[in-house]
């Protein structure tokens, strides 16, 4: 019996991707009926916790439960998103909720994926400020206008929803950097304090790193922070083309 402090209860049909490496069995979808409050909207993560009360072996990552840590990226009724900030009312269709792990990455257990490929691509873009100016221990000044250029870029929480929704990343996770890494690449290329702009662009000038993006905008449609990696990628492409001309 689920412990919900409410009087109005309805039943939600949940279907959860299960995989346990210790059993050696193939992944399967576990069907569960979950009692949820019908007088208020709860998040997908709350529903997962209710499912876990029924079956404590269900595994998933979560931490802040407010869309900041990016731990609980998952595929919710076919669309990637963060469980903690996705209300059931937005995703449940015909009273059914299907939860699967982020697509394209190796599954460690149930909804937990191995993010190594994703993080490796992030590391490649050197996600830190590079400056050849002498470090005098003080801040590097930046104009308000230059700082504004970072808006819409720095907010990424690296949840992986975008890159794992991108077919180009599915087929070439080791060569195509993916929307998350490219958004961050553009974040540092745009930073007026960074002096490695040309080196960063050199690193991206091949057929795969950036140019495998075909602008289908899956990344934009799933980003839980409302960011636009497609636009950032197009800006990088434009810079590379301008340099080549």
């Amino acid at each position: 019996m689920n412990s919900i402090a409410t009087e109005q209860i309805s039943t939600l049909k949940m279907s959860i991707y299960r995989y346990d490496p210790d059993t050696g069995n193939k992944p399967f979808m576990q069907e569960m009926d979950i009692d949820i409050p019908s007088d208020k909207d709860i998040m997908v993560l709350d529903a997962l916790h209710l499912a876990k009360e029924q079956d404590p072996s269900i595994s998933f990552r979560r931490s802040c439960r407010e869309g900041v840590c990016g731990s609980d990226g998952m595929n919710i009724n076919g669309k990637n998103g963060l469980g903690c900030i996705t209300p059931l009312s937005e995703v449940v269709k015909k009273n059914k909720l299907e939860i699967r792990p982020l697509p394209g990455l190796p599954v460690v257990k149930d909804l937990i994926v191995d993010m190594t490929q994703f993080v490796d691509q992030y590391k490649k873009i050197r996600p830190y400020l590079i400056s050849d100016k002498e470090d005098n221990g003080k801040e590097i000044p930046q104009t308000v206008e230059d700082r504004d250029k970072l808006d819409g870029l720095y907010e990424c929480i690296l949840c992986g929803c975008c890159s794992t929704a991108c077919p180009s990343f599915w087929w070439n996770p080791d060569k195509f950097l993916g929307p998350a890494a490219l958004l961050q690449a553009y974040r540092f290329i745009s930073d007026s304090r960074d002096t490695a702009r040309e080196e960063r662009l050199d690193q991206l000038e091949d057929a795969f790193s950036v140019f495998r993006c075909h602008g289908i905008m899956n990344c934009v449609s799933v980003c839980p922070k409302g960011l636009n990696p497609t636009k950032a990628i197009n800006e990088i492409k434009k810079m590379l083309v301008k340099r080549a001309l």
Partner: protein, 123 residues
């Protein structure tokens, strides 16, 4: 240790309309690749001799060939319109989610209408 599974069942993953438009762009390219050569050969045949013209004319009156011709022309139309959409995006326009959706829908609808026109012209 066995290789870990990867969830990548494309039937269970939502594909936004812009993604559908992109897949159609590729499918149309494959269609054009396969059909352009045979129809170019018919064109060469038609322009080489009177007899060749008669054979080409006979072939182009067959319903099966007409269907293939419509497919080729539809593919070309779609590829052309979708290509323009991509070029516009490359120049930095239509980059918001909404604009991407609308331009993808327009590409598909416009190509559909052109296809209907082509069908009426071919038959």
């Amino acid at each position: 240790m066995s290789k870990p599974p990867i969830f990548l069942n494309l039937l269970k993953i939502q594909l936004p309309i812009a993604g559908v438009s992109s897949i159609l762009h590729r499918i149309s390219a494959v269609g054009i690749f396969l059909l352009l050569l045979p129809f170019s050969m018919i064109l060469v045949l038609a322009s080489n001799s009177e007899e060749g013209y008669s054979i080409a004319s006979y072939l182009l009156n067959l319903n099966s060939i007409k269907i293939l011709l419509v497919l080729l022309l539809t593919g070309l139309t779609y590829h052309y319109i979708s290509g323009i959409r991509h070029l516009v995006m490359d120049f930095g326009y239509w980059q918001t989610l909404n604009a991407g959706k609308i331009s993808a829908i327009l590409t598909i609808v416009l190509s559909g209408l052109m296809s209907l026109l082509l069908i009426s012209l071919v038959w």
